[in-house]
């Protein structure tokens, strides 16, 4: 009990000092600039203490705006929040801004972590993530600062930049994204590629590459076909999951989605597999099975192929009718009305 108060006191001391002897506006700007210089991306990491110091100060001594990104390391694993991605985009935005306005003292980019600075989260009234706030000089209270709207996350750094430009009047400039490969890597790869060309040509002329094996081409063609008809590209473009969990029963997995506008990954690949399977079986019968000598094997294999084929086609037809809601029917002459579907 006895040694505790002095430690608390010690911790509080700088805070008290700061509060008691407020620094001038220029000092704060200079301090922020040095903090920014120390951070590799140009995003300043704030804590409860520094929030009080830099943001709670009265507006007269705060001539700068701060764009604050609320982060929570615990939530990084949640895929639907996209926190890590937004955080990197935020860093890109900061870097682009600093490229455009080097040494600017008007706008600073900062982030704050939930586990470290719960108090500040309360002060700002932040209870859901992702959350970005712009604190401008005219905002007197922290909670009164402006929240960036969800729609501004939509196109990532570009839309965030639009927000900043419209609210602060500062120019962010084009977002500079680091290329996938650095300049040196590209040059190295280019040189390697150029060197490999003569060897490749030599191999091709000699005709002993993988390219001359028609089985490779066949497998490739079949794979592209399988991938496309299973709507794999849909999954890539729309980022659809392989399956969903049932809302009412979290243990139950939903593999098939009803409604033709959307599909899940697993259902696409399942049907794509059925599409391809039937085709492969027909090809197997016409090209492989005829060469088999044993009549018994032929008979058995053909029966199996026909049975599986019937099952697969019926399954796909059933699934398609279920998913799209179409009911395909025939058209008979009207004099045959007795068998006609009522429609």
């Amino acid at each position: 009990m006895a040694p505790a108060p002095p430690r608390h006191l010690l911790l509080l001391l700088p805070l008290l000092l700061l509060a008691a002897a407020p620094a001038g506006a220029d000092d704060l700007v200079a301090e922020l600039q040095s903090l920014r210089a120390r951070s590799p991306s140009g995003v300043i990491h704030l804590t409860d203490t520094s929030v009080t110091r830099f943001l709670s100060a009265p507006a007269s001594r705060r001539p700068y705006s701060v764009l604050l990104f609320f982060d929570a390391a615990a939530l990084h694993s949640k895929p639907d929040l996209h926190l890590p991605q937004l955080r990197t985009e935020f860093a890109l935005l900061a870097a682009s801004f600093h490229d455009r306005n080097p040494g600017s003292g008007d706008l600073f980019f900062a982030d704050i972590e939930f586990a470290e600075s719960q108090h500040s989260f309360h002060q700002f009234g932040v209870n859901s993530l992702p959350h970005v706030r712009l604190i401008r000089p005219e905002h007197s209270t922290l909670a009164g600062s402006e929240q960036m709207d969800q729609s501004h996350f939509g196109r990532l750094a570009d839309s965030m930049a639009e927000f900043v430009e419209s609210r602060t009047g500062l120019e962010v400039g084009p977002i500079v994204r680091p290329p996938l490969l650095s300049r040196n890597q590209i040059i190295l790869l280019g040189i390697l590629f150029l060197i490999s060309i003569p060897f490749a040509i030599k191999r091709v002329i000699e005709g002993e590459t993988l390219l001359h094996d028609r089985r490779v081409w066949m497998a490739g063609a079949l794979f592209v076909y399988f991938f496309s008809v299973s709507g794999g590209m849909y999954g890539i473009i729309r980022h659809t999951p392989m399956f969903l969990t049932d809302r009412s029963d979290p243990d139950k997995l939903v593999f098939f989605y009803q409604g033709s506008g959307m599909q899940l990954g697993a259902e696409g690949f399942a049907v794509g597999f059925l599409y391809t399977l039937v085709g492969l079986m027909i090809a197997g019968v016409t090209h492989l099975l005829v060469k088999v000598e044993s009549l018994q094997t032929q008979r058995f294999a053909m029966m199996a192929v026909i049975a599986i084929g019937w099952w697969a086609v019926r399954k796909v037809i059933f699934l398609d009718n279920w998913k799209t809601g179409y009911s395909i029917h025939t058209f008979w002459p009207s004099s045959w009305r007795i068998w006609n579907h009522p429609h």
């Binding site: 063609a221 709507g231 033709s260 026909i306 025939t330």
Partner: protein, 803 residues
């Protein structure tokens, strides 16, 4: 397929005059079958005419129809109301036609995109228009008086028949006439193609698919024969394709890819050179003649692949030539030398090319092409392209809808193409693989996949039927059963000797089947073209047991039967609706909503010729074609700002909207409301895209203002801004919205700046007139600030200030 010498030997020994007779009968049967296929392709597309009427469908076809009218001068004044037609009445029939074409080339359309206008001649693909025009002219000179509209309606079915014949030719080049007939039959009724070519669907794709298949046929034909005649025809056919559709870039990339593939896999031959070089040279020159393509045919990256392959082909040709001249040792020395010098040169060229391409912002590719290469491109950077429903990636049911059971047969066709792999069959596989990939990115390209899927399914079915029917016709002797246990090597010898009788007849059949491909192979000096299966295969009778074969045949027939049922159903129920007339089936019978034509007719008969009509861009083409009035925006969405202006007006309150429209000289506003009859794709439904497009240019329009908790609704929970905007106010009226299934949020308006002048029978189209005077004399300040606009108004009342 057999090696060339073997069948000749068999034929020489076994067959005589009987074979010729059989060939003749086969030829007649084949021609008759093709005729029937043509009739099938034509008639399956007539459901729209039978169920509805002979009318042009949808939106774009109306524009094409109007262009056709202008490029021709219709003899009947009643149907061709276009003023351009009236202008040129005095010319004689022949002169008219010629003049019409030139007039069309230089035609500046002032009826659309007011006040900007649009130069039509240089911005449309003229193929379709000229085709239908020629057809009409031909029929008229044969004294068959058809209206331009009738010819336009039936252009697509006619060309579907042509396309199925072209499919027959293409497949026949690769796998013989049996597969060809099968493929043609399948193509005649493939739903994905029907969707774009029903009677009345007068759009570019209608003729372009025929041109596509025919170009491929001529390419393969040239590849098989090495004839310069076909090469020239190929270039001309390519020219027709360029005239018809922007999809020609698919051809000019696919053929180079195939050439490159042939070179890389060591299948280079002089035939390949003849098939490709003239196509690039002639084809590019001809393509540059089409105004809408022009210098794009040499300047954009879509075409670079063909030039690069052109260079490579020449290098390879040179290498092969030198190889023929020199001894192998000398050749090796020369090769090392040439490769060193040549590579240095190639690097230099590559660097220049790369820097040229990299200097353009999109790397020289158009957004649409880029989104094909990188599927995620469009969704990231071009929301306008990504938002169009045709550009969505398809899900698996789309394939089942579009190509149905062919999806099951294609893999088998792919494998059949590899046994044996010829130049032609490798081309078919490449065509399938590229098109199936592209269709996976954009559902619209399912149309390009359809012919490939039909061809490969035709091959698969034909191979399967061939094997199964052969199994039923010729059976192995029963002793085979016993010997089979001993293994392949032992059993093959006795089995052979016993089967001699049946073997010869089987072979003679294969000979007749393979005749055309053998003929093509005469020119083939390439050893690679030979069959991969050794002579051992020739020695055996390849059959399956009889019973299961019969079941197999029956199963395949049932499968084909299901395909036919599906296709007829799709043609009749899904794709035949003209979109201009809507039907609705209720327990009391069939209701027909003809509101659109009612509204356009009203506009045509009750407004001044030069009045401007504003509507959302979807209805632009129809308004110009059917009402013959000037519109602000239309379906050719070339000017974003203009569309955004209309979008802003639609999403603004009445007064602001009036000001925007008045500045554009608009006199009438046309809105579409489906709430009363339950028509879903009305303006309320399209409203969010109006807001988005409007907001993209004018930042004061914000999407959030129209959404309640991120949800778009127009019932009592709609946002005030939503419930006050022009489009909502003007579409209002019924109380209960049947299209969206809830009560409308705000009823009983009093319009101050607009007045309702016409509402169609089912309330689907409502036309409003801008009120001219009322708000002119309200206080001096306002009068002063608006004196400018009111002065235009005064003059705009009767005459148009822009003229």
């Amino acid at each position: 397929m057999a090696e060339p010498q073997q069948p000749t030997a068999v034929r020489g020994s076994g067959e005589g005059g009987g074979g010729q007779f059989r060939n003749a009968v086969g030829g007649v049967l084949c021609a008759f079958a093709l005729l029937l296929i043509g009739v099938l392709a034509f008639s399956i597309r007539l459901f729209s005419v039978i169920k509805y009427e002979s009318v042009i469908h949808e939106f774009d076809p109306y524009f094409n129809y109007r262009v056709t009218q202008v490029s021709l001068i219709s003899a009947e004044r009643s149907s061709a109301a276009s003023i351009f037609c009236q202008r040129m009445e005095s010319f004689s029939q022949k002169k008219r036609k010629k003049n019409g074409v030139y007039e069309f080339w230089n035609w500046f359309d002032d009826r659309t995109w007011y006040p900007l206008g649009r130069a039509i001649g240089g911005t449309v693909y003229p193929g379709l228009t000229l085709t239908a025009g020629t057809l009409w002219w031909l029929l008229n000179s044969l004294n068959i008086p058809l209206s331009v509209e009738t010819v336009c309606v039936f252009t697509a079915p006619i060309f579907s028949a042509n396309a199925s014949w072209a499919t027959y030719l293409l497949t026949k080049e690769a796998k013989g006439p049996g597969a060809g007939l099968m493929a043609a039959t399948i193509l005649a009724m493939v739903p994905s193609y029907i969707s774009r070519s029903v009677a009345g669907s007068y759009d570019n794709e209608a003729v372009a698919i025929f041109a596509l298949i025919f170009t491929f046929y001529l390419y393969v034909k040239t590849l098989n024969t090495g004839s310069l005649f076909y090469a020239t025809l190929n270039a001309l056919s390519y020219f027709y394709m360029v005239c018809s559709w922007g999809g020609y870039t698919f051809i000019i990339n696919l053929i180079p890819m195939h050439v490159l593939l042939c070179i890389v896999t060591g299948r280079y031959s002089s035939r390949l050179y003849i098939a490709y070089a003239p196509l690039v040279v002639l084809g590019t020159l001809l393509a540059a003649l089409v105004p809408v393509v022009g210098f794009n045919s040499v300047l954009t990256s879509e075409h670079f692949a063909s030039f690069l392959v052109f260079i490579i082909l020449h290098v390879v040709a040179l290498v092969y030539y030198i190889k023929g001249l020199l001894t192998p040792r000398l050749f090796k020395v020369a090769m090392t030398f040439v490769i060193k010098v040549g590579l240095a040169f190639c690097y230099a060229v590559a660097v220049i090319l790369v820097s040229l391409v990299a200097s353009s912002p999109t790397k020289g590719w158009s957004g649409r092409s880029l989104s094909l290469l990188d599927p995620t491109y469009a969704s990231k950077y071009i929301p306008l392209i990504a938002s169009v429903s045709e550009h969505q990636p398809p899900t698996w049911p789309s394939y089942f809808m579009g190509i149905n059971v062919l999806a099951f047969l294609v893999p088998s066709g792919i494998i059949a193409c590899f046994f044996p792999l010829s130049d032609a069959s490798s081309f078919l596989v490449l065509y399938l693989v590229t098109s199936v990939y592209f269709s996976g990115v954009m559902v619209r390209l399912m149309l390009v996949l359809a012919p490939a899927a039909c061809i490969l399914s035709g091959i698969a079915l034909s191979e399967a039927f061939k094997v199964l029917i052969r199994s039923m016709k010729f059976q192995r002797p029963s002793s085979d059963d016993d010997s089979s246990t001993e293994g392949d090597e032992v059993s093959s010898v006795p089995a052979n000797s016993m089967k001699n009788q049946s073997k010869t007849s089987v072979k003679s059949e294969t000979v007749t089947k393979e005749k055309p491909s053998k003929k093509n192979r005469k020119m083939d000096q390439d050893p690679e073209g030979s069959s991969p299966v050794g002579p051992t295969r020739e020695q055996k009778l390849l059959v399956l047991p009889c019973g299961p074969s019969f079941v197999g045949i029956m199963s395949l027939i049932v499968l084909c039967g299901f395909y036919v049922v599906h296709c007829v159903w799709a043609a009749a129920e899904v794709y035949s609706e003209p979109q201009i007339v809507h039907t609705y089936r209720s327990p009391y019978g069939l209701h027909v909503f003809d509101d659109f034509r009612e509204a356009y007719a009203w506009l045509r008969h009750n407004t001044e010729v030069d009045d401007k009509v504003a509507s959302w861009w979807d209805y632009g083409y129809q308004t110009t074609a059917m009402a013959n009035r000037t519109v602000i925006v239309d379906n050719n969405t070339w000017n974003d700002t203009h569309i955004a202006t209309v979008g802003t007006a639609m999403s603004s309150p009445e007064k602001e909207a009036w000001e925007i429209y008045n500045s554009l000289d608009v006199k009438y506003v046309l809105v579409v409301f489906g709430g009363l009859v339950g028509h879903r794709s009305d303006d309320i439904n399209k409203f969010l895209s109006m807001v988005r497009i409007g907001g993209g240019v004018f930042p004061n329009i914000k999407e959030e203002d129209y959404l309640r908790d991120g949800i778009y609704r127009v019932d009592a929970h709609g946002t005030p801004k939503m419930l006050n905007c022009l489009i909502f106010v003007e579409t209002d009226g019924t109380g209960f919205d049947r299209a969206r299934g809830y009560e409308i949020g705000k009823k009983h308006f009093k319009l101050t700046h607009f007045e309702e002048v016409f509402t169609t029978h089912n309330w689907m189209v409502r036309i409003y007139k801008l009120k001219p005077q009322k708000n002119r004399v309200r206080g001096k300040l306002k009068l002063k600030s608006r004196s400018k606009t009111s002065s235009t108004l005064k003059s705009g009342g009767k005459t148009n200030p822009w003229q």
